[in-house]
């Protein structure tokens, strides 16, 4: 069953601009993760934010989490053509749960 829903479904920006993608989910979570997928390849883990955290940074990535609104955002600053990919949020519900539930993704195109 789908837990996370990304918004927008597709995003096209110029190189150098910032890209913001949003994720909403339905039930309480233990953590939320963001992944990137280049066309036709596997997913790559980008960043994990725990339910008791509000913001996390990794290089040009900034993730926020608002558990009261059940939403998260991923910001990519100073985008590059190489950032062109699909981005997925995934949620882990309970601390003892093994499963991640993925959204359908945002397709980001960065135009050189």
């Amino acid at each position: 069953s789908q837990q996370g829903e990304e918004d927008p479904q597709a995003l096209s920006i110029q190189e150098g601009e910032n890209a913001t993608m949003n994720c909403s989910y339905k039930t309480s979570i233990n953590n939320l993760q963001w992944y990137r997928q280049n066309s036709g390849r596997g997913l790559v883990h980008l960043i994990l934010i725990r339910s008791n955290e509000r913001e996390k940074h990794s290089g040009r990535l900034r993730v926020t989490l608002d558990t009261s609104k059940k939403s998260s955002s991923l910001l990519i600053t100073a985008s590059r053509a190489a950032d062109t990919a699909s981005y997925f949020c995934a949620t882990r519900q309970e601390a003892g749960s093994y499963q991640l539930t993925f959204g359908k993704g945002t397709k980001l195109s960065v135009i050189p």
């Binding site: 069953s1 789908q2 233990n30 953590n31 993760q33 992944y35 036709g40 390849r41 596997g42 997913l43 790559v44 883990h45 994990l48 725990r50 997925f88 093994y98 499963q99 991640l100 539930t101 993925f102 959204g103 359908k104 993704g105």
Partner: protein, 113 residues
């Protein structure tokens, strides 16, 4: 560099064939997962294994089975392949000892004709 390796990038099989998709990880991870990915449907969990010889059904297990005889290897079996099992299959593993993300393989694109 840690890795999850899927045995084939592309596979074409005939309807009714028994199909084995193999996944091997070299990170000593306890948990392993099989997803399928279809346009408009995202990633859906087929089966997972939290340890050797243990398996649990995911959201869409019908038509599939799995085997985990050794910690590093998790096999997905299509008992009798059908055209609606044409998809991208993704294997992943995870370290159970902390709050870490999944490591994915490169995927196997299976076409059933």
């Amino acid at each position: 560099d840690v890795k999850v390796t899927q045995s084939s990038r592309y596979l074409v099989k005939r309807t009714g064939e028994k199909v084995f998709l193999e996944c091997v990880q070299d990170m000593d991870h306890e948990n392993m997962f099989w997803y399928r990915q279809d346009p408009g449907l995202g990633l859906r969990l087929i089966y997972f294994s939290y340890d050797v010889k243990m398996k649990e059904k995911g959201d869409i297990p019908e038509g599939y089975s799995v085997s985990r005889e050794k910690k590093e290897r998790f096999s997905l079996i299509l008992e009798s392949a059908s055209t609606n099992q044409t998809s991208m299959y993704l294997c992943a593993s995870r370290d159970n000892r902390g709050n870490y993300g999944y490591t994915f393989g490169s995927g196997t694109r299976l076409t059933v004709v």
